[in-house]
């Protein structure tokens, strides 16, 4: 065989083989297309639009109806806006996370690109983890950071109230953990099945079904991520809210269990995908 100056032999075929390339590809899908911009704008309009409505429109409406006295003022008003922001941020973008997550695995399996990529020196573990890491980063920026910064400025402009940046970031971190739960769940379901119905339906049912599932018992609220962003059960505030306000967390169980769920879902996705036959 003539000497080959073009190709470089890759020995990078261990359990994370090809992760660098695959992660770069996933990142390009976010940052080299309009996806990051579209997602940022959509959730800015929905989440921060609602916050703007609460801060600027509802006082005008209340004044016109002669109910201006019923509205809180100052810090209480800021607290109301913060509550709306955190609970909406924990729910609305989760829909987007589920839709993005179901596409991540199922699309590639169905149109054959997964099989094609895995015919190259890339491990299956790297394939799944690149999906997770790429989408996790995109979601962090376009569904948490942008909206968080905007909401911080909105509340400050409307009420003059500011919150300690670190605590505010901590609250956003808990919201992000909640979204990460749905991302890992959806990717796991995409690895387990080719059914989009399952990959979309089950996470959405968990997201919105808390009002029914909570009836099964208070224990279920402790092991699911709902309480991270929504006051439930015996907690007067959500955990994210308590963190932002510098209050002691009413319970840390939902935080721990959500993190454990994320690890479990990731592990199951890796285990299952390693057994996928194309």
């Amino acid at each position: 065989m003539a000497s080959n100056n073009e190709f470089v032999l890759t020995r990078d075929v261990d359990w994370l083989g090809g992760f660098g390339n695959l992660a770069a590809k996933e990142n390009r899908r976010w940052w080299r297309t309009r996806r990051w911009l579209v997602q940022s704008l959509v959730w800015l309009v929905i989440v921060n639009g609602l916050v703007a409505f609460v801060l600027w429109v509802s006082p005008i409406a209340a004044e016109q109806q002669g109910a201006a006295d019923a509205l809180p003022v100052g810090q209480e008003f800021a607290l109301m806006a913060l509550t709306v922001f955190l609970s909406t941020l924990g729910i609305a973008p989760a829909i987007g996370v589920v839709i993005i997550g179901q596409d991540a695995m199922i699309n590639e399996k169905n149109n054959g690109t997964a099989a094609w990529v895995l015919s190259k020196p890339a491990s299956r573990v790297a394939f799944v983890l690149s999906k997770l890491s790429g989408n996790a980063l995109g979601i962090l920026f376009s569904m948490i950071l942008v909206q968080g910064i905007a909401a911080y400025l909105q509340i400050w402009l409307a009420t003059g109230t500011t919150y300690p940046l670190l605590k505010f970031a901590g609250g956003l971190g808990l919201v992000y953990l909640s979204l990460f739960f749905y991302l890992t769940l959806t990717i796991m379901l995409g690895a387990l099945s080719n059914s989009r119905g399952l990959a979309v339906g089950l996470p959405l049912f968990i997201l919105f079904g808390y009002q029914f599932l909570a009836l099964l018992g208070p224990w279920i609220v402790q092991i699911m991520p709902w309480n991270l962003t929504t006051p439930l059960g015996t907690s007067p505030t959500s955990l994210a809210m308590a963190l932002v306000l510098g209050q002691p967390l009413p319970t840390i169980l939902p935080l721990l269990t959500t993190a454990l769920w994320c690890l479990l879902f990731t592990a199951i996705a890796l285990w299952r995908f390693n057994r996928e036959e194309f």
Binding site: S58, T88, F208, F212
Partner: protein
């Protein structure tokens, strides 16, 4: 050309040309496969399972009176349910049907147009003597019949029997059918919307995201304006500006308003009309 006794000239190329064949294919996709009973078992477990669990839960536990902090609205709800035990199952059913069944319909219908466009089967089918209108209408009718059959008739029959067995109450059949009809109208709104979006977009994100946002926005955003609640189907199955219309119907009470009902029907017709218009302009 030699006389041809095998092939028959097809003169059926009107605006609904090929509709019977396409509808037959859509129906086969539901009733000729495991689809229909998988859907049936799935919703049976989720909806009727939750209702069963609710009936086994003491009302006081559901509305928190054991802890002594029941608010007046919950107390009122509790009294209503103690007086009419069938409502213990019907009210959660309306909420569940208004949410999880819609999720199911949207997820199923999102691939109705997009999967066929992406895989090329839409272009292939339309190369045959079938009209584009027939293609779209067969999707609406096929999915619609499946939804009516499984989510309306089968699940409704199980629910009726379940409530009778668990409470001894026989809901007046006409009132019950009225409630199921409103539930189906709610589902049809999202079905036609999703099919419309499938003709407008090639990306699943928009086809899934828009119906879900519409479905959940009144839950996420507090204080929906009454005019908006009137023109959306939310008030059909859930309490908003008015008590849920389905609740009024099943209790034999006059409807507090017919605007959401009429407007939802109009939305369904509009979505279907726009889908037909758009798909007739699709280039493959």
């Amino acid at each position: 050309m030699a006389a041809n006794s095998e092939l028959l000239m097809n003169g059926n190329t009107g605006w609904l040309g090929g509709f019977p064949n396409l509808l037959k294919k859509e129906n086969q996709r539901w009733w000729g496969t495991r689809s229909w009973w998988i859907q049936f078992v799935l919703w049976l477990v989720i909806i009727n399972g939750v209702i069963f669990a609710i009936y086994k839960t003491p009302i006081e536990q559901m509305y928190g009176s054991e802890s002594g902090d029941t608010n007046p609205a919950d107390l009122e709800m509790m009294r209503m349910m103690q007086a009419k035990p069938e409502l213990i199952g019907l009210i959660p059913y309306m909420r569940l049907a208004g949410m999880v069944l819609v999720i199911g319909v949207v997820v199923m219908a999102q691939s109705a147009m997009i999967a066929e466009k992406h895989s090329g089967t839409a272009a292939w089918v339309l190369s045959k003597p079938v009209s584009r209108s027939a293609f779209v209408l067969s999707k609406v009718a096929g999915y619609g019949l499946g939804v009516i059959g499984v989510m309306g008739f089968l699940l409704g029959a199980v629910l009726y029997g379940q409530i009778w067995l668990m409470t001894g109450v026989l809901i007046p059949p006409l009132a019950f059918v009225g409630m199921i009809s409103l539930m189906l109208l709610n589902l049809f709104f999202y079905l036609t919307l999703t099919i419309l979006l499938g003709t407008l977009f090639n990306a699943r994100g928009a086809v899934l995201g828009i119906p879900f946002l519409l479905l959940f926005i009144y839950v996420i955003i507090p204080g929906i304006p009454s005019w908006l609640a009137a023109i959306m189907p939310w008030n059909l199955m859930d309490n908003l500006t008015y008590p849920a219309l389905a609740l009024s119907v099943v209790q034999g009470q006059p409807l507090p308003t017919i605007i959401p009902l009429v407007v939802t029907i109009l939305w369904c017709l509009l979505f279907t009309g726009i889908a037909l218009w758009r798909f007739n302009r699709e280039e493959f």
